[in-house]
Symmetry: C2
Subunit: 273 residues, 2 copies
DNA sequence: CTTGACCCTCCGGTAGGCGGAGGGTGGAGG
DNA sequence: CCTCCACCCTCCGCCTACCGGAGGGTCAAG
C-alpha cells in the first residue's frame, strides 16, 4: 500500500526541492519515515506525499511555516479549518490593501502635489475616554477598527457627539511601533467606565491640515505638512494627533474620509519678512 | 523652499523607520542631503520627502529594492513607467496564481484522492523540434508560454498536428531549477529551422496517467503516479515527460486541460501474485 | 552642568531557504 | 572486485530587508 523512497524520489513526488525537505526535517515539520542507521540516508514513505503536498500548497500561499505546522498538526478538522480560514482572511486583507496602494501610487504619479492649506490653531486641554496601547504599524488598521468601534459604541450610548481622534508617539514613526492613544473627548465631569480610561490631553499649538481621502495616502499629507512645519515653525514635543472628522464609522467611502492632521508646534509663526 | 531635518524628523515626514533610513543610506538608495562632519548626524532635506514616499509606496507593493532603485534612478519617465508596469503585471500574475492555489487547496481538502488509471506504454524514439533551456520553477509558466507559443506557431506554419510535450530533468524537481525541453514531434526528414533545434528523444517504457484540470494541481497527480511507480515498477533513468493533449493553445479553459504525465520505467511490470 | 532625548556605529538575528565544499554510499558496468 | 557516477550526507555561509540592542557621542533645555 505504501513504498519507501529516497529523498530525491520524494522530491519528484511532491515537487519540493531536496534543500526544502532537509529544512522541513531539521525544523521537525516533515520528518522522513525512517533514517538508515549506517548511511544516514533519509527514507520517506509514499503515504507522506499528501501531507507534503498540503505543506506545499500552504507555502505557495505565503503561509508562514509556524502556521503551516499548526495546520498539519491540527488535532481535528475544526482546528485546521479555523487556521486556514484565518490565513485566507489575512490574504484577503492584504489583497485589498494592495489594491489601495496601487491606486494611491497611480494618483501619486499622475497628480501633482497640490497646494497645502495649513491652519494654525490653539487647542486647549481636554478630557477624553481613551484607549492606550503599544501598537505596531502592521497592526494599526485592526487596532483602529476595534478601538474606534468601541469608542463609537460608547459615543452612541452616552450621546457624545465629539470628534474622535488619536495621538501617535514619535516612536510609532521612528521605530514602526509605539504608543497610540485613541480618544473620544468628553465633559470634565464624565464618569469613568470599563475598558476605556479617562485621560487629559494637554493644550498645545498645532499646525493643522486636512487630509481628504483614504488612509493609504496619509504619508503624502504628512510629508507636505511636516515639510511646511520644518520650514516655517518651531516643532514642539508631544505626539502628532489625528482627528477623524469623517471616517469608516460614518458609513462613508474611503474617498470621502476627512481627517485633520495636527502637528504640535511651539507657537504660531510670525509671517516672514 | 526646502528645509533641513534630522533623521527622526524625516522619519515622521515619510513614515519610514529610522532603521530603514539607515539601511537605505547604507545601500545608497536614499542618501541624506548632507552629513555633519563633526557629529556624523544625517541631515535630510524636505525636498527628499517625495522620493522617500515613492520608495515607501513601492515597498508596500513588495517591490524588491533592486527594482525600486531602478525606478527612482530611472533617467526618464518612459523607463520608470516601464519598470512599474512590469512589476504591476508581475503582481497581477501572482494574484491570479494565488486564486488558483486557493481553489486547488479547497479541492484538495474536499475531494478525496480518486482512483488512478495508470497505463503502461512503450514509446519509440522520435525526432522533434525542441527548445532546450535551464529553467527555474518560478519562471516555468512564462517559459512554457513563450516556448509553446513558438512551437504552436511552427506547427501551424508546417501543418504539423503532433501533440507537443516537454521533458523535465530530475534537477528541475530536486533543485527547483534544471533542464527543460519543450518539443514538437516531426517526421525524421523534417528540415532544421531557426530558433528551435532538432533533437531525437530516446525510446523508453513509461507509466502514464492523464491529469485533468489546471496545472496548479499537477503535484497531486505526480504524487499519485510516482507513488504507484515506486510501489509497482522499476524506475528508469531519464527525465519525466509531459504531453499536452489539450492546453492553453487550444483555447480551452484550465479546467478542460488534459495532460499525460509519463514516468520512465525499466519494463512493464508483471502483475503481482 | 546635568538630564534626557536624540543620534551614531557595530554586531547579531529573523524567515525560508539556496549554493557550494568536502566527503560518504549504492548500484551498474567492466 | 574495481571503478564510476549519481546520489546522499553535514556544515557553513549567503540572500533580502530590515529589527533589536549594546555601547557610546551630541545637543538643547533647565
Amino acid at each position: 500500500m505504501t513504498a519507501s523512497v529516497t529523498i530525491g524520489e520524494f522530491s519528484r513526488l511532491t515537487h519540493l526541492s531536496v534543500k526544502t525537505l532537509h529544512h522541513y526535517h531539521e525544523i521537525g515539520l516533515l520528518a522522513p519515515a525512517r533514517i538508515d542507521a549506517s548511511s544516514g540516508y533519509r527514507r520517506y514513505e509514499t503515504a507522506q506525499v499528501p501531507v507534503a503536498q498540503l505543506i506545499r500548497r500552504l507555502r505557495d500561499l505565503q503561509m508562514p511555516l509556524a502556521q503551516v505546522r499548526a495546520v498539519v498538526e491540527a488535532p481535528d478538522v475544526q482546528t485546521r479549518d479555523q487556521t486556514l480560514r484565518l490565513h485566507l482572511d489575512q490574504m484577503e486583507r492584504e489583497l485589498a490593501q494592495t489594491r489601495d496602494v496601487v491606486a494611491s501610487l497611480r494618483s501619486m504619479l499622475t497628480l501633482p502635489v497640490g497646494e497645502l492649506a495649513v491652519e494654525y490653531r490653539f487647542m486647549p486641554a481636554f478630557r477624553a475616554y481613551a484607549v492606550t496601547d503599544r501598537v505596531s504599524r502592521d497592526s494599526i488598521d485592526e487596532w483602529c477598527e476595534s478601538t474606534f468601534g468601541l469608542l463609537g459604541e460608547i459615543a452612541g450610548r452616552y450621546g457624545i457627539s465629539a470628534t474622535a481622534g488619536a495621538t501617535y508617539g514619535d516612536e510609532f514613526f521612528t521605530d514602526d511601533v509605539g504608543e497610540v492613544v485613541g480618544f473620544l473627548p468628553v465633559a470634565p465631569d464624565q464618569p469613568a467606565i470599563d475598558r476605556v480610561g479617562l485621560v487629559d490631553l494637554p493644550a498645545s499649538y498645532f499646525a493643522i491640515t486636512r487630509h481628504d481621502g483614504p488612509y493609504a495616502d496619509f504619508d503624502r499629507t504628512y510629508g507636505a505638512l511636516g515639510s511646511h512645519v520644518a520650514e516655517y515653525c518651531e516643532v514642539a514635543p508631544g505626539p502628532i494627533r489625528e482627528l477623524y472628522l469623517t471616517g469608516p464609522g460614518d458609513g462613508s467611502a474611503p474617498s470621502d474620509f476627512r481627517t485633520e492632521i495636527c502637528w504640535p508646534i511651539q507657537r504660531i509663526p510670525t509671517p516672514k519678512g
